[in-house]
């Protein structure tokens, strides 16, 4: 069977997700300006320990081999290690994303002793200034201290996860060198205009010239650098990047949010892409197999406005979430379409939808610009809408 027909099968959905992201909490010690889930404060409706364990049991029965845990900062949860241990008991591998604040020497040793565990430290600048502008003051030192602690505890090959922005594309080689110096693996992903990222995307998303730099750099480094398959829109430049190269939302990918709500992917926490809840009758399994939203996402999609473009087979029209949160039609070009169709579409796009929930702390955040400060405003405080 050829790879393309495998991709065709994937588009019709799998019996269970390959890549399931589970945001454990909306609470976070940081307030990154591009946070996909607008995290900050805990939501009182978040799943209890027992509810979360029941979800893990269900994922075990579905043979979901591994999950990606995030947040918020997942280590904020008091039952974090209890849930990790339960996942391990269920033979579910865990990769969790963290800013590193709670990876003390003691916790690093505890993590190093566990099986089926991967850790992804978020870092969005190869130096303190670049990183802290986006992730907040002190966050660079926090991340590097966590990495030191993991190395000293002989954790093994952890990952450094970088969201590519206009300010750090030029640091790709430095990120790689940093990862190599820790014996870590570099992972780079695409900036999405989701959550607070919707407010900062315009000033942070890579320029057209930088998109080309990312593509060339990835082609050069191949499978040694992870991407979460997030750059398939760049395939219109030429040969395909490694990976599945399709939008996996609701087909091979989904998100469980801290409340147990199931969304099509981690980048579309919005009512329009909510498929159901793990707390409903039938649980996650029913949502995955039978929800109206996921069923519709598995039907053949129309290339729409991209039909006449010769690159559609390569780029697949790009990312659904990027289109949605920039006000573009879902059956048209990606806002970062490498042929420039996105920029054209953006100039006549309607109002972009606002995220349905916001758990940001009730403060005003600023991106500390090198030249002039740019305000990032928040409309609501910690209360979910």
């Amino acid at each position: 069977m050829s790879t393309s027909s495998l991709a065709a099968q994937m588009k019709q959905g799998l019996d269970a997700p390959i890549c399931l992201t589970w945001e454990l909490t909306y609470a976070c010690n940081l307030q990154c300006v591009h946070c996909l889930s607008s995290s900050g404060t805990r939501d009182p409706r978040e799943l209890t320990t027992e509810q979360a364990k029941a979800v893990l049991d269900e994922l075990r029965d579905l043979q979901v081999f591994y999950i990606n845990i995030g947040g918020g900062e997942p280590m904020v949860r008091r039952d974090f290690f209890e849930l990790l241990e339960h996942a391990e008991h269920c033979n579910i591998g865990v990769k969790f994303s963290t800013n590193g604040a709670f990876i003390t020497p003691e916790n690093a040793r505890r993590l190093a002793a566990m099986n089926y565990l991967d850790i992804q430290i978020s870092l969005d600048g190869a130096n303190r200034a670049t990183n802290d502008r986006v992730r907040g003051e002190g966050s660079y030192d926090i991340a590097l201290r966590a990495m030191d602690n993991l190395r000293d505890a002989s954790f093994g090959r952890f990952k450094i996860s970088v969201v590519m922005t206009r300010e750090n594309v030029s640091q790709l080689d430095e990120f790689k060198a940093l990862a190599d110096s820790y014996g870590a693996q570099l992972r780079i992903t695409r900036l999405r205009p989701a959550g607070r990222g919707a407010d900062t995307w315009n000033e942070l998303h890579p320029t057209a010239a930088q998109q080309r730099v990312i593509y060339d750099w990835l082609m050069h480094h191949g499978e040694d650098v992870l991407t979460g398959d997030s750059f398939f829109h760049l395939n219109a430049f030429g040969d395909a990047l490694p990976g599945l190269n399709l939008c996996g939302a609701g087909r091979v990918v989904c998100l469980i949010d801290p409340l147990g709500d199931v969304y099509a992917c981690p980048f579309v926490i919005h009512d329009e892409f909510k498929a159901g809840s793990v707390l409903e009758d039938g649980g996650f399994t029913h949502v995955w197999k039978s929800s109206d939203l996921f069923t519709s996402l598995r039907e053949p999609e129309s290339p729409g406005a991209c039909a006449s473009c010769g690159s559609y087979d390569a780029c697949q029209g790009g990312c659904m979430a990027a289109k949605f949160f920039t006000g573009l039609p879902l059956d048209g070009p990606d806002p970062e379409c490498v042929s420039g169709h996105g920029e054209h579409a953006l100039s006549s796009a309607g109002a972009a939808p606002r995220p349905s929930m916001d758990h940001s702390k009730p403060v005003r955040l600023t991106v500390k610009a090198r030249r002039s400060p740019v305000l990032v405003t928040h409309h609501s405080g910690g209360s979910p809408s």
Binding site: M1, L6, Q9, L14, D15, A16, I18, Y66, N115, Y116
Partner: protein
């Protein structure tokens, strides 16, 4: 490593298989790799391999036409390199 019709194989003990419409997903808990088994016949052969003394016997028992054996040996060699199966 190249397998032959005389090789005796088994599913690697660190690997779990999950049936899917196209065949199966294989997950290796040791190296954390996910591998696609892209045909139900390959899945049947991989699952049954440990019960036989040679791959030839596995292919015969699973009704795989002889004309397909070279492509099966090649696919199984690649699965052995990914540690989805191993020689026993």
């Amino acid at each position: 490593m190249t397998l032959t019709l005389d090789s005796a194989c088994e599913l690697h003990p660190d690997v779990a298989l999950r049936p899917e419409p196209f065949g199966a997903l294989a997950y290796h808990y040791g190296n954390r790799r996910l591998i696609f088994l892209k045909h139900p016949d390959v899945v049947a052969v991989v699952r049954d391999a440990a019960n036989h003394r040679s791959l030839r016997e596995v292919l015969v028992e699973n009704g795989i036409a002889e004309s397909r054996w070279p492509s099966f040996i090649s696919a199984l060699t690649s699965l052995a390199q990914s540690e989805v199966i191993r020689v026993h």
